[in-house]
């Protein structure tokens, strides 16, 4: 985060002051002598309070059922929820990512040509809003069509729903682009499975162990000559957590 963003997050006060309090352009002359790690460059790990920040229990039940069909427990590794993907996404949705801080959200949006021109559907809603509305629509669909909570449906039925979403065929009402929602869920569940464990997912580095990725290692010079060899490197996390 730069200083401008810091000021704006204080609200509009700073921006509307006629004369800012003693600040002009940030002028640097000579080598800046700060040596400590910049605060806003420290990673922000998931809070491990055991509680959740934004997703309700009902939302987590629905989402967990979907995530565990996208990444089920099997011989290759634990399921998404076992690997911490709910903790991961809750933490992500509670922060800048969930708020869509990086997204350009000025209207108008033209749904009819977004996909054609941009190569992907685009949205004015933030990821948190898309999760909220998407999970509610899926739960409502299950209750209406199957007469049950989505989380109580058999695995094959959830797979069928996900398949329909992936193909863009599941009708979740005007407001929900089911294919776009599927892509968001798949992207995030994979992130939760493969991100550094400090973000709450990839518990025991299970995702990295599944494929043999050694994690946050920073020097492979001793190994470059061992081409084509199974190196069996033990993965490491940025902040040893487990």
């Amino acid at each position: 985060m730069n200083r401008r963003e810091a000021l704006f997050s204080l609200g509009t006060i700073a921006a509307s002051l006629a004369v800012a309090p003693g600040l002009g352009a940030v002028e640097l002359k000579g080598v800046p002598h700060d040596t400590q790690l910049s605060d806003d460059h420290m990673p922000q790990p998931a809070i491990r309070s055991g509680g959740f920040l934004v997703l309700s229990e009902a939302e987590r039940r629905t989402l967990g059922a979907l995530y565990d069909r996208l990444l089920p427990a099997d011989e290759y590794g634990p399921s998404a929820t076992e690997a911490g993907c709910l903790e991961f996404i809750d933490s992500q949705l509670a922060g800048h990512y969930g708020a869509g801080k990086a997204l350009y959200l000025e209207g108008p949006i033209r749904p009819e040509s977004e996909l054609q021109l941009m190569g992907t559907a685009q949205f004015l809603a933030s990821p948190l809003e898309r999760y909220r509305s998407g999970l509610a629509a899926l739960e409502a669909y299950a209750q209406r069509v199957d007469g049950q909570h989505l989380a109580d449906l058999p695995a094959e039925r959830i797979d069928a729903l996900l398949g329909e979403m992936e193909a863009g065929r599941l009708d979740l009402g005007q407001a929900i682009n089911s294919k776009g929602l599927f892509e968001l869920l798949l992207q995030n569940v994979r992130e939760g499975y493969l991100a550094d464990p400090m973000y709450g997912g990839n518990r025991n580095m299970a995702g990295w162990k599944m494929i043999g990725f050694p994690g946050a290692r920073y020097d492979y010079r001793p190994y470059i000559d061992r081409r084509g060899e199974n190196l069996r490197l033990i993965p490491v996390s940025l902040i040893p957590a487990d």
Binding site: L37, S38, H41, P43, R69, L71, G77, Y104, E106, G119
Partner: protein
């Protein structure tokens, strides 16, 4: 509040490769230089040491090092009959947003263009007098030649510590290098990187096919090195957190590691950070500019007067600043007149995706530029007489995909992308997948151009830049030819399955995975003010104390990454300013 700062000899907008190299030259020549940079000050030890950088979620997936669309994005359409839409989420528009610019987090493929790339119009006339080029294709000489740029390429490589192996040294072929390259006056400053497993396989395969593989030049250093500015750089550790990441080791060439530490010690250098330049101000005589207006981090408006103004704000922003400052004539595709926004071009990609069996590619051993390439089908290195297109591609085995999230889609075509089927396939592919990239040339077209968007604005309320772009027939023919050469290599490689594709077979869109981020042209340099915005010194034809440096100057793109060439051009322009312009301000092409 508005305020006026003390006058400078020169003000430079943006502190990436172009801005920092220009500032280094001008301050060394004694000029009082102010650089205005939109992003914050960032250095290795404070902002991206190894304990911070090795974070794929943050830098690879969320792309935190880049300028977010919320601050400024572009609008896009394929044809001018359409209404352009803004890119809302992450896309292939990968733009820098801090001191160091995109050079802080680039992948460091550190190329020179071939001599022919600068003079294709002349070349076509001489070598292919009967070739029918598609209607509307823009092919024009740059006005500067490879031979003129050679000393400046050499200087940049030495500042950056580029690793590699010369193929042609003072006209003599060298074993192990690229036999097709323009002649070099010196060997690379650091030795080539070690080859990855995949580089090795590709090398053996292409050599057997009679092609000429060589290690590509890389700004991931082959050895410890001290550059001409006295700065120590470290050898690359192949960590794989490279493109999109700042380097924690001082072992990837960047403005932050290679130039800015020296600049900061100079008394005649001033850096304003977190200030966005809104436009240059025109003088009453209409022939010069007086300085630049900017908005600072308190949202106050400042004016920086200067005798010389240099836009080094990246290709997109250079073109946008020209349009916002109303300097020169905006391009009009209906009449095909005007030069600002004209000659917009890109990079035409082809790919081979290969899947082996029982391999350990160990993809995590990687740099952004760990590659073996063949140039047999690049530029004008082969005879195009009966081919119906100009240009070609560098074809390379690139070991740049190290981290897992970015590889989740790399499973053989037709594989289900979720469930146990995907987990199984991904586990297998992670060690068995490999990639061949065809990084192709791009020639501009009369219907592809940049302009200001009439509907959407940035966080300062200024119009976004609008891109109107579609691949042209020359791109399509070239890319299909390259795709077929890639397929030949795939077939010989021993891969179990593979697919080869030419990107222009689909309409262009800004979010297609694996497409290039190399966006080029819009303020082309050249010899004729009717078809170029800048003369051969990157000096505005319309305001002689305004210079515009960056890939925005290239009338066409070569089958290589652009940064080596924009850096060499920057040094060429710096020399012209110091040796000629300062003595007698005015158009340098008088």
């Amino acid at each position: 509040m508005t305020y006026k700062r003390p006058k400078a000899d020169a003000v430079i907008v943006g502190l990436g490769w172009a801005g920092s190299l220009m500032a280094e030259e001008l301050t060394r020549a004694g000029l009082d230089v102010v650089v205005i940079e939109r992003g914050p000050y960032e250095v290795t030890h404070r902002n991206f040491p190894p304990s911070v950088a090795a974070d794929e979620l943050r830098y690879g997936a969320r792309r935190e090092a880049l300028r977010p669309p919320s601050v400024q994005t572009l609008t896009f359409r394929n044809h001018r009959s359409q209404t352009a839409l803004p890119g809302r989420d992450l896309s292939n528009w990968v733009v820098g947003y801090s001191v160091g610019g995109a050079g802080k987090h680039w992948s460091a493929n550190a190329w020179r263009f071939t001599p022919a790339d600068f003079t294709m119009a002349t070349r076509v006339k001489e070598r292919y007098p009967h070739m029918q080029l598609p209607e509307g294709l823009i092919v024009q000489d740059w006005g500067v030649t490879y031979d003129e740029l050679e000393p400046h390429y050499d200087r940049w490589e030495k500042i950056a510590g580029i690793s590699g192996k010369a193929g042609v040294l003072n006209g003599a072929l060298q074993p192990g290098g690229n036999p097709f390259e323009g002649s070099r006056s010196a060997e690379y400053p650091t030795p080539p990187l070690e080859r990855s497993r995949w580089n090795d396989l590709f090398h053996a395969t292409t050599e057997k096919m009679g092609l000429h593989p060589f290690p590509i030049p890389a700004g991931t250093l082959g050895a410890a090195y001290t550059n001409p500015l006295g700065i120590n750089l470290a050898p690359c550790t192949y960590c794989g957190f490279c493109g999109f990441y700042g380097c924690g080791n001082w072992s990837k060439s960047s403005p932050n590691a290679c130039v800015i530490p020296a600049l900061m010690t100079r008394k005649n250098f001033t850096l304003l950070t977190e200030c966005t330049v809104l436009k240059a101000e025109k003088a009453a005589d209409g022939k010069t500019v007086t300085g630049v207006t900017f908005i600072d981090s308190d949202r106050n408006i400042g004016f920086q007067p200067a005798d010389i103004v240099i836009f080094a704000a990246f290709q997109f922003d250079n073109v946008r600043l020209m349009l916002l400052s109303q300097i020169g004539t905006p391009y009009d595709p209906a009449t095909r007149t005007g030069t600002i926004g004209r000659a917009y071009n890109f990079q035409t990609m082809s790919y081979g995706f290969l899947y082996f069996e029982n391999e350990y590619m160990n993809p995590f051993i990687s740099t952004g530029a760990l590659a073996t390439q063949v140039d047999d089908y690049n530029g004008d290195n082969f005879d195009h007489s009966d081919l119906g297109f100009i240009g070609g591609a560098g074809i390379l085995a690139l070991s740049d995909q190290a981290t897992p999230m970015g590889m989740t889609d790399r499973v053989p075509a037709g594989t289900k992308l979720w469930g146990s089927e995907w987990k199984k396939a991904f586990q297998h592919s992670y060690q068995n997948y490999a990639k061949i990239q065809g990084q192709g040339t791009s020639y501009a077209h009369a219907e592809s151009y940049l302009s200001l968007d009439p509907n959407y604005t940035d966080d300062n309320g200024q119009p976004l830049l609008r891109m109107t772009f579609e691949f042209n027939e020359n791109d399509r023919r070239m890319a299909r030819f390259v795709r077929d050469r890639i397929a030949d290599i795939c077939r010989q490689s021993g891969a179990k399955t593979w697919e080869a594709m030419a990107f222009p077979d689909q309409p262009f869109s800004p979010t297609r995975a694996y497409d290039s981020g190399h966006t080029i042209g819009g303020t082309a340099m050249g010899l004729d003010p009717a078809t170029s915005a800048l003369n051969r010194y990157q000096q505005s034809w319309d305001a002689h104390n305004l210079f515009v440096i960056g890939a925005s100057s290239f009338p066409n793109n070569a089958g290589y990454n652009p940064t080596g060439t924009l850096s060499a051009l920057t040094l060429w322009t710096a020399k012209a300013i110091i040796n000629d312009y300062l003595r007698q301000p005015g158009l340098l092409t008088r």
